[in-house]
């Protein structure tokens, strides 16, 4: 088997295991990454929501925000894990396709 094929299999395995990145922080009661809090967290942290931050934070509405599906915010961890895997697959596919395209445009033939 070609090494690149093996590496793709490895990436597929990582996609299937990716919900660990969701479940472990949940299990250990860990919050957001530092500097990546949602705006609602600021009231408790500093007593107000920074005005510019409030305005800019809603600038972009991503189709799969937080690696989940729209309207699934209240779903359980099993559904969220499923959405997480699908997000991983979509993200891997889009990233790889864009890089293949750029690579093809830029690379030397020989």
């Amino acid at each position: 088997m070609k090494t690149t094929t093996k590496l793709w299999i490895g990436i597929g395995v990582l996609a299937l295991l990716s919900p660990l990145g969701l479940l472990l922080p949940e299990y250990f009661k860990s919050g957001d990454a530092w500097g990546e809090w949602g705006i609602e967290a600021f009231g408790e942290m500093i007593g107000y929501i920074p005005r510019g931050l409030d305005k800019l934070s809603a600038l972009w509405s991503a189709p799969f925000a937080d690696y989940a599906f729209k309207g699934w915010e209240e779903k359980g961890l099993r559904d969220l894990s499923f959405a997480y895997i699908i997000s991983a697959v979509i993200g891997i596919a889009v990233t790889a396709c864009v890089v293949l395209l750029i690579g093809r445009l830029l690379s030397r033939k020989k």
Partner: protein, 228 residues
């Protein structure tokens, strides 16, 4: 380490786009000269790996979370300029499709993870590897150290970006407009968690993949020597 929209003022986020644009243009130019068609699949794999490894949030119990980036690995396999493009694509996809990192902060996030981490990691790996053979143990150590230091340098520049916001954008009543935490908070917190936890994850991930490739297909590790 993905700065969301609203944490940086327009000066900082605009400035980082301005810094990254010539870097991206130059990367395209260099890659056009050096990347071989047969390396393109590996470049796509490196980008996909970077994308998915960033989904593995590692918890500090009762505290925050963080993750590896995989940027140093891409740099070791394909050279810093190609890696810069690969990690940039992963970060742009994360911002646009998954809201991970702000769209106004794409320049800043790419500066930290696709430029600082990539280039620092690459040259640290080169220096420690020296003239050792591609399958030598020294290169595994070099990959680990490069991963650890590369991620920590990226954490540092990220912390500086957060930390300078209160200096630039505080209203008369003492309220912050953007990130409210100054350098005195951002740097110690970001550095402590990355030096103690997340840097080690990047080190282990980078070293393990290099070790695997040494056994499986050392020719992949020679690529950057010909290509620079």
């Amino acid at each position: 380490m993905h700065i969301p929209d609203g944490y940086l003022g327009p000066q900082t986020s605009g400035m980082m786009y301005a810094v990254m644009l010539p870097i991206w243009a130059f990367a395209a130019k260099i890659v056009k000269k050096t990347l071989k068609a047969k390396q393109v699949p590996l470049l796509a794999i490196a980008a996909a790996f970077s994308f998915v490894i960033m989904m593995f949030n590692v918890p500090i119990p009762g505290g925050t979370t963080g993750h590896a980036v995989g940027a140093v690995l891409a740099a070791i396999l394909l050279g810093p300029w190609a890696a810069c493009i690969a990690v940039t694509v992963a970060l742009v996809v994360q911002a646009l499709l998954f809201g991970d990192g702000g769209i106004t902060a794409i320049g800043a996030n790419c500066f930290n993870m696709a430029f600082i981490e990539v280039f620092a990691g690459y040259y640290i790996y080169k220096i420690i590897s020296g003239s050792s053979g591609v399958t030598s143990g020294r290169r595994i150590v070099a990959a680990g150290v490069a991963g650890y230091l590369g991620l920590n340098l990226a954490a540092f520049t990220t912390a500086v970006m957060f930390g300078i916001q209160p200096l630039m954008h505080t209203t008369a009543d003492g309220r912050s407009l953007y990130c409210p935490y100054g350098l005195n908070v951002a740097i110690p917190v970001m550095m402590a968690e990355h030096l103690l936890v997340f840097g080690w994850i990047e080190a282990i991930v980078t070293a393990l993949v290099i070790k695997y490739l040494q056994k499986e297909d050392p020719s992949l590790l020679q690529a950057t020597q010909e290509v620079r």
